[in-house]
Amino acid sequence: MSPRRAASTGLVDRSQALRFTFDGRTYSGHPGDTLASALLANGITLVGRSFKYHRPRGIFTAGVDEPNALVTVLSGDGREPNIPATQIELYEGLEVESQNRFPSLEYDLGALGQLAGPLLSAGFYYKTFMGPVFGPLKGTRFWMICEHAIRRAAGLGRAGYEKDPARYEEMNAFCDVLVVGAGPAGLMAAEAAAKAGRRVILAEQEPKAGGSALWSGEMIGTRPAHQWAQAMAEKLAATENVRFLPRTTVWGYYDGNTLAALERVADRPSGTAKGLPRLRLWNIRAGKVVLATGSLERPVVFPGNDRPGVMLAGAAERYARQYGVLPGERIAVFTNNDGAYRAAAALRKAGAGVVAIVDVRPEISDAARALAQEAGVEPLLGHAVTGTAGKRLTRITIQRFDAATGRVSGDGRPVDVDCLAVSGGWSPTIHLASQAGGKPVWDEALHAFLPPSPMQPWVGAGAFAGAKTTVEALSTGRDAGLAAAGKKPSRARLPAVTAPALDPAPAPVLEIKAAGKAFVDLQNDVTAEDVRLAHREGFISVEHLKRYTTLGMATDQGKTSNLPGLAIMADARGLPIPEVGTTRFRPPFSPVSIGALAADRHRHFKPDRLTPMHDWHVGHGARMMEAGLWHRPMIYGQPGETVEQAYIREAAAVRRSVGICDVSTLGKIAVKGPDAAEFLDRVYTNTFSTLPIGKARYGLMLREDGIVLDDGTTWRLGAHDFLMTTTTANAGKVMQHLEYFLDAVWPHLKVHVTSVTDQWAGAAVAGPDARRVLEACVTGTGVDNVALPFMGIVHGRIAGAPVMICRLSFSGELAYEVYCGAGHGAHVWEALMDAGEPFAITPYGMEALGALRIEKGHVTGAEIDGRTTARDLYLDGMLSKKKPFIGSALMDRESLIDKNRLRLVGIVSLDGQPLGGGAHVVEKGSLDELGASIGHITAACYSPALERHIGLALVKGGKSRHGTRAFVSDPLRKRFGPVEIVSHHFYDPEGRRMHG
């Protein structure tokens, strides 16, 4: 006895065969099959081993709610674990394997763990490993050792290590109305909203539209329901203002009516067009949302309810009708409601034997009775299934059951079956509505939670909203669509529905208490007894219950177990279910591949920011480094050179003759307007209104709290026209700082700021021969000491390109910054290189730049670290006393002028060994004994000018320690050694060279 194909084909195309492999064996299915239906059609019911006990498990559902049948999809070297077989569309060449079994699915050693079953109750791990450990294991890493073994034994599939070759994309969409779910209600809603002229997106998680219509066996109008649905979907897909997205799961409902959806675009290797993503993440901003997400069936919990062959009644019906597959040949039905009778009739009609209908209720409706007759069996009322047998289901035990008391009585009667179809009634799929906010509302008649009242602009329709019949689904769907479109409900006639008049109310029975393991959560192996144990131990809140037992966790998020779990807890507490409450649903509704969330951002998260001279640098041997988003030359290494050798050579060339450095990355902000000078006086600690046109000035900015924000030079190009430069790292921050003050504080100041960082290419030409290089190539202006004094600005041309040259120095040498339009950057750079050739002009990178500035004691981001004040950096001479400026009010607070603050000093290594940034400075100690820190080194290098290892440091007391000895303590790098604290102006402290 085993499942097989039925005579009728359902909606599967049997004219075409698709081969697939499961655990290495090849099978065949058809287009329209899921992996689950194809496995069943091949007689396979055992598809996995359970999470904790390694019990054999089969296919429990036919949809997104599947807790059991999780498989790993293989593709080349890649593997994607934990995919429900019910959610995999069959394709030619599909390869899957089962999970959590060793050595094989059939003979799994892990199943021995079942013998230890009583030990593995809820909270087992906490109690055993996480609590206080006494005895010989105290203080050991016992848990760490056990964890490894337990994690291997328990669990789901494992992910691969190979790079995922698939492509993932993100898409933004806007619509007036998003309809979630293309069942009868959703189709009607989409049609109504589309007819009203609204821009509509209709999303359906299944490959085909129709929802329950695909397998209800009902008639809508004159056609079978699935034909009606297909015609509707085709019509809508062809409508211009409708976007129909099949295979698209709306999984998150966020603020501002923004919803996230996952489209499986090309989730198969074959036939994939180039550039097509495997998955597409949709961010949908919807005016209104129609939730028509239907409902999910829940099981009745009873001992042995987890054997392969036990499945939901609706799933069994769906396999028979939609997929043309019989889930068994001798099928019993166990139910608390009328719905399962329709399944029984459908299974019989498809060719299966229905051997029993077991119903907990003492009485049933006429319609149910009629369906039982169609199924060819007399229902056993007032009975329940109390046990099962077989690795694959072979037998069930039936006993008398009193629904009023919940008691089982009488002798067990065995019935041989190979499939048991179970129904505990249906719960609306309220996940998205719950995510959108609000508390679900309990409905006593349906014995289920209905959606909360909307906290965001959504309208509910169909079974989601509590509709009990397809007629109601059609009418609520149309009304919801009209409401979402801002229209009144319609009175036009709806298509007639031919369906049995079933009683929608289930009996309030979700658990049969009898001897044996009864599973509530099949995926996490949580039993009814675990829930009661949690109750006994005080974990009575649903949120605690979930965390203590893991009920409702993992990939299925308890879609089949939520309500039975709540019912058992409510029973244990002696409270009605709504008073026990339900956990709040959170995104995602169903699992979303991490790849889809990261999307194929093509490194968009961190775009490469390139200067105009980038290609030149790369072409001339530069080793590039990242500075924020920027790529900057670190060194221009020559063959055989180390980084250190290269930067020493480069820095020495600057001191000896001339070097050239790309400074295009410096932040540049145009500050313009009649109040520009006044604004700069407020922004900088020093004064800019007195700066003559054609001159630059070094400036310092503080934050409101008195801490240094940034420094740089600002050039006055005209009466109302300044060019501010910032450090590379702080360009964005300074821009925002200026914009804040102009927008929020002083909107009346007539000043505009615009980022012109990208407008200008900049090259620093530095060294004793710098002027000669410029003289050789600049036209239209003199560059001598008179025409271009220190901090002067001239305009001219280099190789025909307009340039602006400012004489300023970061290196301490005679130096110029040459700016030109970025599009001319490479052109001007090459002209400077040509002009510098007679002087052996040397391009230098960040490392040499760093060494030169340390020698000069210039501060950068390492010292302007968000904690230092102007005084700490000995820049107090720049704090104007004549005017208030940003930060002036708070910069003199007690703690900011404390004499023990860390202040800037120079450090010289006395043992000839290098110093490291971040190392501590101590007064005593050793390599093994840490001394008390008196400060830390911010930057260090080998100084070619001083021929020693030097550094800048922030040290308590600062200047007062000049000339004293201390030690560098760097235990991480195993460095301890003597240093001398000196002035941070190591090199040419009088500045003769740069003024020369």
């Binding site: 145009a670 313009k672 407008q759 339009g821």
Partner: protein
């Protein structure tokens, strides 16, 4: 006159790429005009600035948010509450300098600082929707209007210059990285890089 060098470098690969089963769905091009100027008005002066820009360029420019105008020689669109991005020929800066007095606002030359990339064709809206969280449908984003938006770190000022044509102004330093992203996003629709 020294030629400006494109920042796209070797990333600019003329020809057809990606999924061409239905022909290229978009054409991609660099269309940086000779002059790009940001014109900014003082509070209350945006209409005066729009008139001044209109006078200098011949465009019919409104001061409304997102408004823009497309002409043969020049384009302009609003990029902020007080700002327009104006493009034109070599004489644009001179014309604008004459037309916009300091009482109205200021001008900042961005001819080197911004790069214009054009996405045109039947799948332009689809491709751009992958990169930006704004509504590209014609009803929401009419021809000539502008939008300021961002793709992660890349700020983009976008003008719809035709029914299925968009010009994107991005920072020069990020243009190559963004161009590569644009090409990647266009592979699904198939694209043709045109000079």
């Amino acid at each position: 006159m020294v030629e400006r060098i494109s920042p796209l470098g070797a990333a600019f690969r003329p020809g057809r790429h990606g999924n061409l089963t239905a022909g290229p769905g978009v054409q991609l091009a660099e269309v940086t005009p000779p002059a790009i100027v940001e014109a900014a008005a003082w509070p209350g002066q945006k209409e005066a600035l729009a008139r001044a820009v209109a006078g200098a360029t011949g465009l019919a420019l409104s001061a409304l948010p997102n408004a823009g105008a497309v002409g043969e020689q020049a384009t302009a669109f609003s990029i902020g509450p007080h700002r327009f991005l104006v493009t034109g020929g070599d004489d644009l800066t001179a014309r604008l300098t004459e037309a916009v007095p300091l009482e109205t606002g200021t001008l900042t030359d961005l001819s080197h600082g911004r790069i214009a990339l054009r996405v045109a064709g039947p799948r332009a809206e689809w491709v751009l929707s992958k990169l930006f969280a704004i509504d590209f449908a014609a009803a929401a984003f009419p021809v000539a209007e502008g939008r300021a938006t961002a793709h992660h770190d890349v700020l983009a000022q976008i003008q719809r210059t035709g029914p299925d044509r968009f010009d994107l102004f991005v920072f020069r330093s990020l243009a190559r990285a963004f161009w590569e992203s644009l090409c990647a996003a266009s592979e699904e629709a198939g694209y043709e890089v045109v000079r």
